[in-house]
Amino acid sequence: MPDDPAAMIHSLVGEFARLRASAGQPSLAVIERRSERLEAAGTATYGVRVTRLPRSTVHDLLHRDHTRPPRTELAESLWAVLCDLAAEKGRPPRPDGLNLLRLRLDAINAAWQSRPLATKSAPDGVGTAFGKAPGIADGAACDGDEDAQRRWLLESASRNTENAWWHVGRHLVPEWLGPYLTLERQARLVRSYAPRFIPGLLQTEAYARAAFRRDRPAASTPELDGLVHLRMRRQEPLWQPNGLRLWAIIDEGVLRDPICGDEAMHRQIDHLCRVTVLPPVTIQVMPKDAHGHDSADGPLSLLRFREPRLPDVAFVEQRDYGLYPTRSNDVGHYRALLGRLAIEALSPEDSERLLRGLRG
C-alpha cells in the first residue's frame, strides 16, 4: 500500500534488486569501485552526478528493510551506477528511468512527510503516492492553478471511496489503483499505452482472468472472480451513449502472447477486431521492430475529463504501485510520450489489418 512509506521503500528496493540483476549481479565491492570511478570522472552518468557509495551504504540501500526514505542523492547515485554496469551487459537504461526514479522518490518523501505519527493506519485513505497537497482543503481549490486542481482531483478521488463504483470490491483494489478507477469513470477520453497486457477496458473475461492470475499468483478463485467482475464493470462506460472514448496503443508482442490459451486468445483478438471499428475505440499497434518500446517504462494512461477546466491526469503503472504525477510539466512529458508512441505505432487502419491477420 503506497500510503505506507515503508511499503513504497520496499518496492523501490525491489526495483534496485531487478536493476542489479540486469547488471549481472555485481558485488557490493564492484558497485563501490564503480561509484568511486564515476565520482572521480566528475561528469554526469545518465543525468546523475554520482556520489561515492561505500559498501555499507550500498548494502543498506539494497537490503535493509528501511524505515526512512533513502537519501535522494544516494538513491540516484546507486541507480546511475547500476545503469552504468548494466549498460556494459548491453542493457542501457530506458530514457525515462531517471524521471521515474525521481517521481518515485518524491512520492516516498511525500508519503513519509504525511505519515501518521502515532498510528500505523493510513490517514483517511489519502493516496499519498501523489503527495500531500498543502493548503488544498476543498473544492474551492478547483479554481486554482493547474497543478493545484490536479492535486485536488486526486485527493478527492482517493478520499471519497465509499461512493466509488468499485466500492463493492474494495478489498480487491489496491489503494494506489482506486483513484485511477474512480477518475477513469469521469473521463471523456482515455489514452493508454499497453506494453504488458491488452488494456483492461478491452479485455475479455478469459483474458482478464489470465492477466490477474499472472499478476497475483496467490489470488484465490473467489478473488479472481471478483477481480474479473470488477474489470467487466469497468468497461461499461465505453459502451454507453456519449460515454468514454479509448485511444490505446498496444505492443504487438502483447497480441502474440496467448496468456489465456490459444482459443481464448483468438476470442480476445476477435473482440479487438470488432471494437476497433466502433466509434469509441481507436487501437494502434506498436510493431515489434519499432523503437517506441524503449521510451515508456511500463503501462501509461492519460485521462481527459468532460469538464474542460479540469486538467489531464496521468497514471504511470508499475508492477506493484502507481504514480500520479501532479506537476504540469511531468504530465506534459507523458502526453508528449503518448504522442510520440502514436506517431511511431501503426495507423488505426494498418492496426486493424494486423489484428485481422492475427485472427486469421
Partner: protein, 275 residues
C-alpha cells in the same frame, strides 16, 4: 541541475520526442491552447501567453475563425449541396471539426484532412472518426507542394464532382506573397467546375496583432505572415465570390443575434465558386 545533467535531459528528450519537438512552439498546438484544448506543451503555453500579453484579441479571433468554419461548412453542405471537402491545415481536433459539421447535415459527406505535422495527424486519425455513411481520410502533405496534396486527395475524392477546398488560417505559413498566390491557384486549377474555395486569414490591420506576431516569429517557430484585406481578396481572383464577398469574418453571413450585427475582427475571408 548541472550543465551535464541538462545536456543529458535535452538530448534524451530530443531523442525521445522524435516527431514532436517540445522545445519550440508550434502553431497548431498554440491554436489548440487558445481554443481551450489540452494537446499542447509548456513551450506552446508560454508562447501563447506571450502573444496574448501583446494582443489579447487573439483568443477571441481563434474562436471567431472556428465559428466561420462552422458557418461556411454548414452553408456549403446545406445550401450549395457540396459533399466533398478538402481541408488543408487541419490543426489539432477541436469540438466542431469540418466533418462533424458537414456529416451532421449530410452524413454521406466525404472529408480529406491534410496536415504536415505528425502529431496533428495521429490526433486526427484517432479522434476524428467520421460517420460510417461518409468517409473521413487523413493525408500527410505540405502546403508548399500543392500537386502532392491533389495527388493524394484523388485517392479519396471524386474530382468529377464539386469539392470545397478549405484553407483556414494557414496561408500565412507561406510568407512569400507570389508563392502563396501560386499555391492557391495551382490547387484551385485541379478542382472541377462548380467547386469552392473557402479561405480566411488574420490581417495586418492591428498594430498589436502585428507586434505579437513578430514576437512569435522571433521564438524560432515557423514564421507567419499577416496580410492586408486586399491581399487576402487576391486569393479569390478569377472566382465568383458568394455574398457578401471577402469580408471581416464575423460579417460573413452572421447567425441572427439579438445583439445586432457583430463587430469586425482582424481576420478576413469568404467563399468563392469556381466557374
Amino acid at each position: 541541475m548541472g550543465t551535464d545533467e541538462r545536456d543529458f535531459f535535452a538530448s534524451a528528450e530530443k531523442d525521445l520526442m522524435a516527431g514532436i519537438d517540445t522545445s519550440v512552439p508550434h502553431s497548431a498546438r498554440i491554436w489548440n491552447y487558445w481554443l481551450g484544448g489540452k494537446d499542447n506543451f509548456q513551450v506552446d503555453q508560454e508562447a501563447g501567453d506571450a502573444y496574448t500579453a501583446v494582443f489579447p484579441g487573439i483568443v477571441e479571433l481563434a474562436r471567431i475563425s472556428r465559428e466561420f468554419l462552422g458557418r461556411a461548412v454548414r452553408h456549403l453542405t446545406a445550401e450549395e449541396g457540396v459533399r466533398q471537402f478538402l481541408d488543408v491545415g487541419t490543426g489539432l481536433p477541436t469540438e466542431e471539426n469540418t466533418h462533424q459539421v458537414a456529416q451532421r447535415i449530410a452524413p454521406d459527406s466525404r472529408i480529406v484532412y491534410v496536415d504536415n505535422d505528425p502529431l496533428v495527424l495521429v490526433h486526427a486519425r484517432a479522434l476524428l472518426s467520421g460517420h460510417p455513411e461518409g468517409a473521413t481520410h487523413y493525408v500527410e502533405a505540405d502546403l508548399h507542394e500543392p500537386e502532392n496534396i491533389i495527388h493524394l486527395a484523388r485517392r479519396h475524392l471524386d474530382f468529377e464532382r464539386p469539392i470545397a477546398l478549405m484553407l483556414m488560417g494557414i496561408m500565412g505559413h507561406v510568407t512569400d506573397d507570389d508563392e502563396a498566390i501560386s499555391i492557391v491557384r495551382r490547387l484551385v486549377a485541379e478542382l472541377p467546375s462548380g467547386s469552392y474555395l473557402v479561405l480566411e486569414d488574420g490581417t495586418d490591420t492591428d498594430a498589436a496583432f502585428l507586434e505579437a506576431q513578430k514576437g512569435y516569429d522571433d521564438t524560432g517557430a515557423v514564421p507567419y505572415r499577416l496580410r492586408s484585406p486586399a491581399q487576402i481578396a487576391r486569393f479569390f481572383e478569377g472566382l465568383e465570390p458568394l455574398e457578401p464577398g471577402v469580408v471581416s469574418l464575423p460579417l460573413w453571413r452572421p447567425d441572427p443575434s439579438p445583439q445586432g450585427p457583430p463587430a469586425e475582427a482582424h481576420a478576413y475571408g469568404g467563399i468563392a465558386r469556381k466557374p
